[in-house]
Symmetry: C2
């Protein structure tokens, strides 16, 4: 895939949230850069303030953090996801989270300080990203509900329902921590059928 094609794909995807003015779109495009990262490499290390927003074009990323030395997966981010560590992006504080590629991944990166500046001149861009973040917010609220009161098995079955491909594409240890259970427990559940 050419850089040009990747950026077009990102812009098209972002436009699906809200179509910005022609000029806003052109300004936005100027801040898009493409990148490629190979499996298991880190796109962003733990400990830095998040100032870049990624659109995954092809591949699989995950956001993760370390809790008592253990690697916990916060989210899987497949193609056509906006990927950012929002708790850092919106607070300006250093993130304890990192972004890693679980597959070779093509992405588009947008630097957020200039992006947020663009909002002043182009309300349609602010509208667009407001909707992007609202959608992320909704996903997070729904996930919260799923974690709040489901058994390990229920959480597994829900993932199987909603993102079955993740189970093929990501190591099960990451799936386990994503579900908030141990890998042993996950293995047990999978053995049931």
């Amino acid at each position: 895939m050419t850089n040009e094609a990747a950026i077009q794909k990102a812009l098209q995807y972002l436009s699906s949230f809200h179509r910005p003015s022609q000029e806003a779109m052109e300004r936005l495009q100027e801040y898009c850069t493409t990148g490629f990262i190979t499996k298991n490499k880190n796109l962003q290390p733990v400990g830095h303030t998040c100032r870049t927003l990624y659109v995954n074009i092809e591949g699989l990323l995950r956001i993760y953090y370390l809790k008592d030395g253990k690697d916990i997966t916060e989210s899987f981010e497949p193609a056509l996801s906006v990927v950012a560590r929002v708790e850092s992006l919106f607070s300006g504080r250093a993130s304890r989270k990192g972004i890693q590629a679980l597959e070779d991944t093509v992405y588009v990166a947008i630097s957020t300080p200039p992006l947020f500046k663009l909002f002043d001149k182009h309300p349609s861009l602010e509208r667009l990203f407001r909707k992007v973040f609202e959608a992320g917010y909704v996903r997070t609220v729904n996930r919260l509900e799923s974690l709040q009161f489901h058994s390990a098995e229920e959480k597994y079955r829900q993932l199987l329902e909603e993102q079955p491909d993740i189970l093929q594409r990501a190591p099960l240890k990451h799936v386990a921590s994503y579900l908030g259970i141990t890998q042993v427990s996950l293995s047990r559940i999978r053995a049931l059928r």
Copy 2:
């Protein structure tokens, strides 16, 4: 507290996220209404699409839902909180969640369809609410992390640290479901000291 005072308090609080233009502020004020609800009453029942956003001025609200007939508290919303069932507000779908008063509560209500229309003319209002929602998003992400991998005791201690007053003000059954544990388990933990 007079209606006028409540609205001023709400506007002042909202302005702390982003100061809108004078005119935007005046338009916003026109859509603010005040209300009072007594303890245990429902502000919003389960099953309706969320089209109102509340600012809690004084008192305590909670967002809750029913899971297999059991009452689960999703969040506690004390004074100076923006209260909305975002998964419905942003998707237009009916919410399975309700809003209930845990104390006599004074609130300001803002109808969202006209509010969102105001955004077209007043980007500074869109900016303001974008920041309000971003802050909510960050809280939710952090709470997700707390639920993903903490024991019942850790979650209780964290609540004790961050919102100790909730334990005095809300029935423990709601605290238990909020933490994703049973009331019996919560009682055990509390008995440790």
